[in-house]
């Protein structure tokens, strides 16, 4: 593996290898000395054109635990505000010795472009590109589900037969797309629940069936996993629903809806949460919620991804 751009690029074997290695990384993260010498002397750049808390810090912690040097770049306060292009920015960073670029960009396809344009030869990891994909989020979500189901016997297991319901703003969500692709490779059955205005133009999005009501979805599908998506107000150029209150009534995971889920069902949210909009505090703070586990697992999964990309023969 040279780059990680899309969850669709990963074969089942590659996914399992990343998740199994992440299991070992999570053991390291529980040790007193949370450090491995694996990427010593390598330089990783966090190239962030969009705001981010958890993804950027998670990648930074992951790279540091593998002993890589980390440079944080955010577009605000850089030469990008003077008009420097993506190409020039990336080439500049590579000239300073970066071997891997972790890219978040508001334009779909930015990471793909950096990987395939021939501008630079660094490893590219897509940390979210517009409305397209966010593959490490999908990997950490899959890791979290596997861990909840199989506990310490997770190694080598797929998610065969698991029923996953993705709820909310599918239209603007790169998390939904990456999860759909990845979870399907792992054998899970994924369905969507969203208001018609927040579904893509072709509602059979990537072949997943959908519900136009959250209550119908819960009662008919009996999901093992409910993944709530953040309502991405910053990407909404038009009104997609009348009021926040109406959205919350129809599509929020309330205490009452939480109680209707099966006892072992888990509630996921990629964060940051809009409490009271798509998820109630009762659901977010319940024992079924994996929100904080997802954050902790993100470090292990990103360590594994960095290891898979940056170790191994360099074919040049």
């Amino acid at each position: 593996m040279k780059h990680l751009i899309s969850a669709a690029d990963l074969s089942l074997d590659e996914i399992l290898s990343i998740l199994d290695t992440a299991e070992e990384m999570s053991v390291v993260n529980d040790r007193d000395v949370k450090k491995l010498p694996t990427l010593r002397g390598k330089t990783v750049v966090n190239l962030f054109f969009e705001d981010s808390t958890r993804t950027r810090i998670s990648f930074e912690v992951a790279a540091k635990r593998l002993s890589a040097d980390v440079i944080n770049f955010s577009a605000k306060g850089s030469s990008v505000s003077k008009g420097e292009s993506l190409k020039d920015t990336a080439q500049t960073l590579e000239a300073m010795g970066a071997q891997a670029l972790i890219v978040r960009h508001h334009a779909s396809g930015a990471a793909h472009n950096l990987a395939n344009s021939g501008w630079i030869s660094s490893h590219i990891i897509n940390a979210g590109d517009g409305k397209h994909e966010h593959p490490t989020q999908a990997l950490l979500d899959a890791f979290t589900m596997r861990k909840r189901i199989h506990g310490s016997h997770s190694r080598g297991k797929s998610l065969d037969g698991l029923k996953v319901l993705i709820v909310g703003d599918v239209l603007h969500s790169r998390v939904a797309r990456s999860n759909l692709l990845l979870l399907r490779s792992l054998g899970a059955e994924v369905r969507l629940a969203a208001p018609a205005t927040l579904l893509p133009a072709n509602p059979n999005f990537l072949g997943a069936s959908y519900y136009l009501g959250l209550d119908d979805a819960i009662d008919e599908f009996h999901p093992d996993v409910v993944m709530m998506l953040r309502v991405q107000l910053e990407r909404m150029s038009a009104s997609f629903f009348p009021t926040a209150r109406e959205y919350s009534r129809g599509w929020g995971l309330s205490a009452e809806r939480l109680a209707r889920l099966s006892e072992n069902a888990i509630v996921m949210h990629p964060g940051p949460m809009n409490r009271g909009l798509e998820i109630s505090s009762e659901a977010a703070d319940s024992a079924q919620s994996t929100v904080l586990e997802q954050v902790a697992n993100g470090i292990s999964v990103r360590m594994s991804v960095l290891y898979h990309l940056m170790s191994g023969e360099t074919r040049e």
Binding site: D20, T21, V33, P37, Y307, S311, E313
Partner: protein, 179 residues
């Protein structure tokens, strides 16, 4: 390509029994002894040696004295080989601090695996002493490392391949040399 068997199944059993006795002799008994196998075949051998010790010393409890140490993340050749799978590390519940620790591997060659193992160990504790047991010592050391317990010294050419096969992980139980 020619193949020659250098250790038969019985030879391997005898070597393991002998190494087991030598370990107990050097340690003056079974107290504070931990065996750590290096995956894949070092783990198999560590378990066999532990069984051989337990046969003679009933006070030795393999379930709290044998573990496995994955050294992948500590290797110095990660850039030279395809990406390696990382496997589990399991230590006995009593840990390794103040124990006499015996690292077990199948073939001792350049010594780089053992160098990585010594680095990995520092993350888990401070053993009183670290010893090394190997089934085959084939020479060609690139680091100042030697084994304390050796099944068989097998001077070999660098072009030859030493193939250790153990029933727990392979079809056969033998050591063959391919050239």
């Amino acid at each position: 390509m020619s193949t020659r068997t250098v250790l038969s199944s019985e030879d391997i059993d005898r070597a393991i029994t002998r190494i087991a006795h030598q370990i107990i002799e050097a340690n003056h008994g079974t107290s504070n002894l931990v065996l750590l196998g290096i995956p894949t075949r070092g783990v198999v051998l560590a378990n066999r040696i532990a069984r051989a010790i337990a046969n003679n010393y009933p006070d030795f409890d393999p379930s709290n004295s044998v573990g496995r140490l994955d050294i992948t993340m500590y290797r110095d050749d990660l850039d030279r080989k395809p990406t390696r799978a990382v496997t589990e590390t399991e230590l006995p519940a009593k840990g390794i601090t103040d124990q006499t620790l015996v690292l077990v591997d199948d073939v001792l060659f350049s010594g780089r695996t053992i160098r990585a193992a010594l680095d990995a160990l520092t993350e888990y504790g401070r053993p009183r002493a670290v010893k090394l047991a190997v089934l085959i010592d084939r020479g060609h050391r690139e680091l100042p490392i030697r084994a304390d317990f050796v099944g068989k010294n097998l001077p070999s050419s660098r072009d030859e391949r030493i193939n250790v096969q153990l029933t727990e992980s392979d079809a056969e139980n033998q050591v063959v040399i391919e050239s």
